[in-house]
């Protein structure tokens, strides 16, 4: 081996030139390519539409009005056919203090549809993406089921399809088929919302619903299939006390714009820099003093 090492030092001039030449050439090529890449990225970035124009959806949640009836959760489950234990919209019920000085409070938690979405960043295939109108969408036909968005999301709004979601969505899974037919007169199961199967403009991707097949991720879509028809999201439409306000935050005439600019508004975990599209007015951000009561869970049996 020593022999070989010695020979290495005796490289002739021809050899040396070839290598230098080669390094030069490849260096030049790499520089050119990098320059092209950077230029290309800049050009494309410049074309990005400004966030100050066009429609950008936002939700305002008035905590002073919420009394924790969870009708929004139910509406969401019915609209989106989500399986048992899955709550794309979830309403926290909190209590704090010691008896008799106890205070109850509520806080709905939909997907925040962040502008700087922590779940969009790590998606390896671009199934989770940010739309120009502010929606954070999940293309369930592209999702590979790595669940990276789920571990990245600080709000824990993602729900994975651990099973094939072909069973009844909002009736007892344990009941037999005959019982179900008798109870519901054959009407409800297996109900599927046909609107969820379509593609959404403008990207023409399958982002409505999320409980289509096992092994893909689902989460709140702001009911994109309803927005396309000019309807409000199911939770907004079904709230009995108008906790939710929904609209275009870029429009100074819209209700959400006026609310956010007329009352003290805050967003959840704003310190993370996620810039959510969901604003809260009234109430206060949850603290560690709060105890959750009547939490939902996952049926273990």
């Amino acid at each position: 081996m020593a022999e070989v090492a010695r020979r290495q030092k005796q490289r002739g001039p021809g050899r040396e030139i070839t290598r230098r030449d080669f390094l030069k050439k490849s260096g030049a090529a790499a520089t050119l390519a990098t320059a092209g890449l950077v230029a290309g990225s800049c050009v494309l970035a410049a074309k990005e539409p400004g966030t100050a124009t066009g429609v950008k959806y936002a939700m305002v949640i008035d905590l002073d009005r919420c009394f924790g009836c969870r009708a929004c959760m139910e509406a969401c489950k019915v609209e989106n056919n989500t399986p048992e234990g899955v709550f794309w919209m979830y309403v926290f019920r909190f209590e704090e203090g010691q008896y008799p000085n106890v205070r109850i409070s509520y806080m709905p938690r939909p997907c925040m549809h962040c502008d700087n979405a922590l779940c969009v960043k790590p998606c390896p295939v671009g199934a989770r993406y940010k739309r120009a109108d502010g929606l954070v969408a999940t293309d369930w036909k592209r999702c590979i089921g790595c669940r990276y968005c789920q571990v990245a999301c600080p709000y824990s709004v993602n729900y994975f399809n651990w099973v094939e979601p072909s069973k009844r969505q909002y009736l007892d899974w344990q009941a037999s088929g005959a019982t179900m037919r008798r109870v519901t007169n054959g009407a409800i199961p297996p109900y599927k919302n046909p609107d969820l199967d379509g593609v959404a403009k403008p990207e023409r991707r399958s982002i409505a619903g999320g409980s289509h097949t096992k092994g893909v991720m689902g989460k709140c879509t702001f009911c994109v299939h309803r927005l396309e028809k000019g309807l409000l999201p199911a939770c907004v439409a079904n709230c009995p006390v108008d906790v939710y306000h929904f609209g275009n935050i870029n429009d100074p005439e819209s209700e959400v714009y006026k609310l956010v600019h007329s009352r003290p508004a805050w967003r959840l975990l704003e310190e993370l820099g996620t810039r959510p599209s969901v604003y809260y007015i009234g109430g206060a951000p949850p603290t560690s003093e709060l105890r959750q009561v009547e939490a939902v869970g996952w049926r273990k049996s």
Partner: protein, 515 residues
Amino acid sequence: MTTQIMRKLPYGVGEWGRGVRLVMSLALVIVGVGLFAYSRQLIEGEIVTGMRDIGTMGGVAWGLYVAFVVYFVGVSFAGITIAALIRLLSLERLRPVARMAEVLTIISLVLAALAIIADLGQPGRGIINLLSYARPQSPFFGTFTLVISAYLFASLVYLYLDGRRDAAICAQRPGRLQRLFRLWAAGYADTTEERVRHYHTAWWLALFILPLLVIAHSTLGMVFGIHPGRPGWYSALQAPSFVVLAGVSGVGLLIVIAAVLRKTLRLGQQLDIQVFRWLGNFLWVLTAAYLYFIVIDFLVANYGGGSREAAVFKELVSGSYAWLFWLTVSSFVLCFILMFGQFATRHYSISLVVIAGVLANVAAIGKRDVIVVPSQTHGNLLPYPPGAYTPTWVELAIIIGLFALGILLYVVFTKVFPIMEIHLGRNEAIPHGEDTRKRRKDGGMRKRMFILTLMAGVVLAVIGFSLVAPLGPTAHPMYSEPRVRFAPLIFVAGIITTFLSPVVYELFPDKREKN
């Protein structure tokens, strides 16, 4: 080339003894159980695992699979490092374990890829969509292109080129494996120029793989390190500590494998205490570095005032993960003491080094779990109740099946190819008096072809990278869409072609001269 034909293939190649067949059939059975478990998961969905949604369901989205993806990729550290140490620092002492380490790297990367597939909810879609849509903004892009493609392929090339001489030697002996050896040798004749050429290629290859090693293990750390929403993960230490922990587990497992092969193949002479001394010293340095990372992490999280980090660490130190955490830390400490003690007293014993290697791997596996799971169950920023995670038999069977598959592949390799470089005594010396002018004459075409392949690879990679989703903020759908479909495939093909260039350089046929 001297034609001294061996009476027997070296290092037990081609000898399928009773013990070997027993180990192989046992491994096959365990692989079968793992496959059965995986079939359950494919049919019923990942409901059969212990994982559930983070948040209201109180589960974890990543469990054992991801912990072992990280572990297997970590183990792959060994091969490249050893190869680089030998080539770049001329550490001839480690030469006997070079090929063992290379094979360990390749097999562990295959296992890592399989563990990723096991974790995916849509495995078939996963492979196709990664090739057509992969985005460079995701740390998985690094795992997918750099670790699984580049790292694996570079290691394969390295193993292949380094094995040609032995293949040529083995090919002289008629037998069932002769055809394989001939194919592998691909016309290698062990002339001086071929040796010099291989020496140069291996040196350059080692030089280029070394930064790849750091980048690849760092991107794996970034998979966890970039999430401000996961206290316990969100740390700049994550990337460097992954590189170091990879070294701990890789070198540790290499020590164990070298010891097993030493016993079973009776390699006591070739694998002497010096090899284990070097590996062991390497191990304690890395373990010390990792213990330092643990201490820094602990101090910052607990004293720094981040209440959420402190909550996760409290759970580690005295909560439901305490047993695993302290098992891990004590394994690290014990491993360090064992090896450092031997270093300090300058008295080495192979069995103690092997125990340290085993401890290093226990610690590495424990630490991977302690990294992956607690931040999901106890690192919630909203007031969800704490979660819990217990792996089910399906997950355990798949992981154990992967280990069995690794052992099976390793045993098969040792039986079809010499696991150590063959020494033919004096014949190794390079014959003097070869005409150096002849070398220069045939070099032109070979070099041109080499540069052509290299440039083609680099250009393909650059084109591929510029056609994937543009880098930038996430605020627009264009950052989630590749400019051209299958651009990641072009990128990966470019990387593979780049690493194919040394093969072209070494295998390009000489001009036929009448002699």
